[in-house]
Symmetry: C2
Subunit: 308 residues, 2 copies
DNA sequence: CACAAATATGATTCAAACTAATAATATTTA
DNA sequence: TAAATATTATTAGTTTGAATCATATTTGTG
């Protein structure tokens, strides 16, 4: 009842303002909804004033709440910067960070993340290992990469996985395509179609790995390097595709093609960052994971951050 | 052992840098030395680096420690400002603060405090109730003052006391004065002397209240309004005086007069701020108390902040 | 070298902060 | 309009970790 303001409260408030709800803010800061409800009530008691109106969704901050948010917005970045400096002081200068990527769409969010990261760690040498690799984890062991972005955890591998986020993969159809009449597509629906995808092995397509192979279905394949080219092929009825919903949302909004969920349960893909255990503890590596999560959350609509 | 940085840590570090020792920092933040030792060790473990060297006194901050201090110096004032804004929002705009003073030397530290306070609470009307009053607490009850600076707590009064600080009162003698041969002065030493003081009732002189009256001694009195004038009289052998050690330190340094402790136990005076209970909870009142304590601590050598 | 001052350590205590379960309230959907 | 779904508040119980006390160790000083 008499406890003073702490950084934890500011983090909570920022999450609250970002998410617009106590429950989602709780997820964001890895606490229960109840914990935040208590924490916020204690804060309001402490200052003798309400910080936000709960009746509305998204909730509205009061003047007092806004003032604390503005405090949080100046204080928390300053704290973050100081902590990175401390990490530099404690661990000595930072090394290199070579990133191996197996998915084409990853570039869409990886670039903004790298831009943000370069500002924080200017002395870290940031590279993308060129080309696409069937086995990115192998590159870690060969010391040709320091961090790999993968879509499956292989617990047999001696690497440390950092969860990134999850997103839905949707099927893309031309307007008036017969399958567009269905509310969702099942594995069988793909059997007679041409699947248009990036030029990668079967293993690396979530649709094939999670849906088609288990059902024993092997559709014809046609490939293209570029998302826009794939969409163009779909629109001109050369086949159907399956892509991240966040990657195609702008095209859907403009009515370029149509989207349908895949299976009744929908198809979700996950992304993880993998590093050798020896590098997993390095502050500049951990911070890159944080940056990837933050920038993606900010830029990609509809994604859900994965919990540890 | 994995606890993140909190404002409490920054407050501790700032106290540490200010005082130059763990024990004194502990006093400053009202905790035990042990608590701070634990707290600092936890911080150092968390960042994996030492924050200061303990071997030396005053202790020396490491680069990491300095970085955190600089963080604290930007963050804590911002937090303070935000909290005052919240208080304004919660309690509405602030009123007036009329201060009644009974001691002459109080002005020396009150003026800097008021200057500092005016910046923080520009909308509070700040006044000193003119003249000196035998009964400042009475002014509170008559609603002619909102806050009184007093040197004794009268528990019978229905007021709330805020402890300020304690300081030593020393006897002042001309060079070569016979009493200067003694290591300290006792009550009897004053019997044959002329006591030079401010023109206030006996009650309000700590020397008389605490030492001379209990011993039944009533020396001749001679008065002056100004500290420098009192010192001049002492130096020219018109009598002896008793003044706060912090008020005369500069004159002692220059060898203008000599100082001796009063009684074997030395003579200490305390100061308190008194308000009506109704006003004691107002943020702008409580903050004035904080400012008085802070600025005094900063400006007056040798004082000790009183604990609640 | 011994002593005082300052800091570190370990055991214990206790309150703050969290979780879980559930109730109350609002919002959306049928 | 009712049922289903989300969201927040409340109550009670548990955990955790920060502070204290007591004591040991270290460091500076006469």
């Amino acid at each position: 009842m008499q406890s003073p303001l702490e950084l934890r409260h500011l983090r909570t408030l920022l999450a609250l303002a970002d998410t617009g709800s106590v429950s989602r803010a709780a997820q964001r800061v890895s606490l229960t909804q109840s914990a935040l409800s208590h924490q916020l009530k204690a804060l309001e008691d402490h200052y003798g004033t309400a910080l936000f109106e709960r009746k509305t969704l998204p909730l509205k901050l009061t003047a007092a709440g806004k003032r604390l948010i503005s405090l949080a917005e100046t204080v928390l970045p300053a704290v973050g910067a100081a902590e990175r400096d401390l990490a530099r002081i404690a661990f000595g200068e930072a090394g290199q960070l070579r990133i191996a990527v197996e998915c084409h769409t990853c570039f869409d969010w990886l670039m903004p993340a790298m831009d943000c990261y370069r500002e924080r760690w200017p002395e870290v040498e940031l590279d993308i290992v060129s080309g696409f690799h069937a086995d990115p984890i192998g590159l870690l062991h060969e010391d040709r990469a320091d961090l790999a972005i993968v879509s499956e955890r292989d617990e047999a591998e001696a690497v440390r996985y950092f969860p990134l986020f999850s997103y839905e993969v949707v099927a893309l159809l031309a307007h008036g395509h017969p399958l567009a009449a269905k509310p969702y597509l099942s594995a069988e629906d793909f059997a007679a179609e041409t699947l248009i995808s990036y030029p990668v092995p079967d293993d690396m397509l979530d649709l094939i790995r999670q849906v088609l192979r288990p059902a024993g279905i092997q559709p014809k394949r046609r490939t293209s390097e570029l998302t826009i080219a794939i969409l163009q092929l779909v629109a001109s009825r050369r086949g159907i595709a399956a892509l991240p919903q966040w990657a195609v949302q702008p095209y859907l909004d403009r009515g370029y093609v149509e989207a349908r969920p895949i299976t009744t349960d929908r198809l979700y893909a996950q992304l993880y960052a993998a590093t050798l255990p020896t590098r997993a503890g390095l502050p500049y590596v951990e911070d890159f994971v944080d940056v990837m999560r933050e920038t993606s959350q900010l830029n990609l609509p509809g994604i859900v951050l994965l919990a540890e």
